[in-house]
């Protein structure tokens, strides 16, 4: 996808400029509209469309890892012929929020998030039992970055 042709200036500014420090006011979208010199309804309509199209995941909070519960990054080494089936099985857990195929012997990578360590371990055990494959369990030990959002480079 070429960002340049798909999104106009207002879309781009909505995507770029409000990734953090979203206004905590009664009418936050009106505040955005004022800064963008457009209307509140237009801002809301555009954010709805960007969300529907998939460019925006949500307008909301990115919560620090382990503030609310526990999570781990897990990986499976899946035989190629079973990858689709096992990816679907893994995505089926509501505790799994990210699930990607990656280029490696460990080719299926997913994040398991739950209330506590026991609940996370129970999901990994269940996946191991159902697939016959032993997951790598790689919990976060130390974060090094501050999540400041993502600076988009428009063409």
């Amino acid at each position: 996808m070429d960002c340049g042709s798909t999104y106009d200036t207002l879309d781009r500014r909505l995507l770029d400029e409000f990734q953090r420090g979203f206004p905590l006011t009664e009418r936050p979208f009106a505040d955005l509209a004022e800064r963008l010199q457009t209307g509140e309804g237009e801002v809301i309509e555009r954010l709805r469309r960007l969300k529907e199209e998939g460019a925006v995941s949500r307008v909301g909070a990115v919560v620090a890892p382990h503030a609310l519960g526990r999570s781990t990054l897990a990986a499976l080494a899946v035989p190629a012929e079973r990858l689709d089936e096992i990816a679907e099985l893994v995505s089926g857990y509501h505790e799994v929020n990210h699930n990607y195929e990656r280029e490696h012997r460990f080719n299926l990578w997913f994040v398991v998030t739950a209330e506590d360590e026991d609940a996370v371990a129970a999901v990994l055990d269940d996946i191991a039992r159902r697939t016959g494959l032993e997951p790598l369990d790689l919990p976060l030990l130390e974060p090094f970055h501050l999540d400041l959002g993502f600076a988009l480079q428009w063409r």
Partner: protein, 170 residues
Amino acid sequence: MALNDKDRRLLHALQDGLPLVPRPYAAVAEAVGLSEADVVARLARLADEGVVKRFGVVVRHRELGYRANAMTVWDVPDEAVAATGRRLAELDFVTLCYRRPRRLPDWPYNLFAMIHGRDRASVLRLVEQATEVAGLAGHPRAILFSRRGFKQRGARYLGQPARPEPALAG
């Protein structure tokens, strides 16, 4: 950072993001049984305390033309990993940077960085740049490009989602 039940209920209600309506905090407040002013004050406090790392528009890289991403991992001696990780994390194209455990013999890597780019070649250039800047030349490394995304959404710590989110193809 101490989270009480009301904080948890609030963050739970926000898992799918703010409702896109003129007074979103009032709508969230009604859903969790708090006042609008309380919701706003709590979110400000949670951001101050670092529980909420950022609050705003969360974009999907892939849909915005960042088609390539590589989880890049290194094996760094334990005594050097913190300093190295902090240098990596300062690079603006590194979106996540964590220390995780090795799992020998299957997995010898302990430093993880997520690097996004428009295509494979640009990601590889960024990986080389990161390697140089963080002093990682010579350390064992693997570059795990993503192929297919089966699922991507915000974390859910408590219970079933209110609405299912479709798995992403491509």
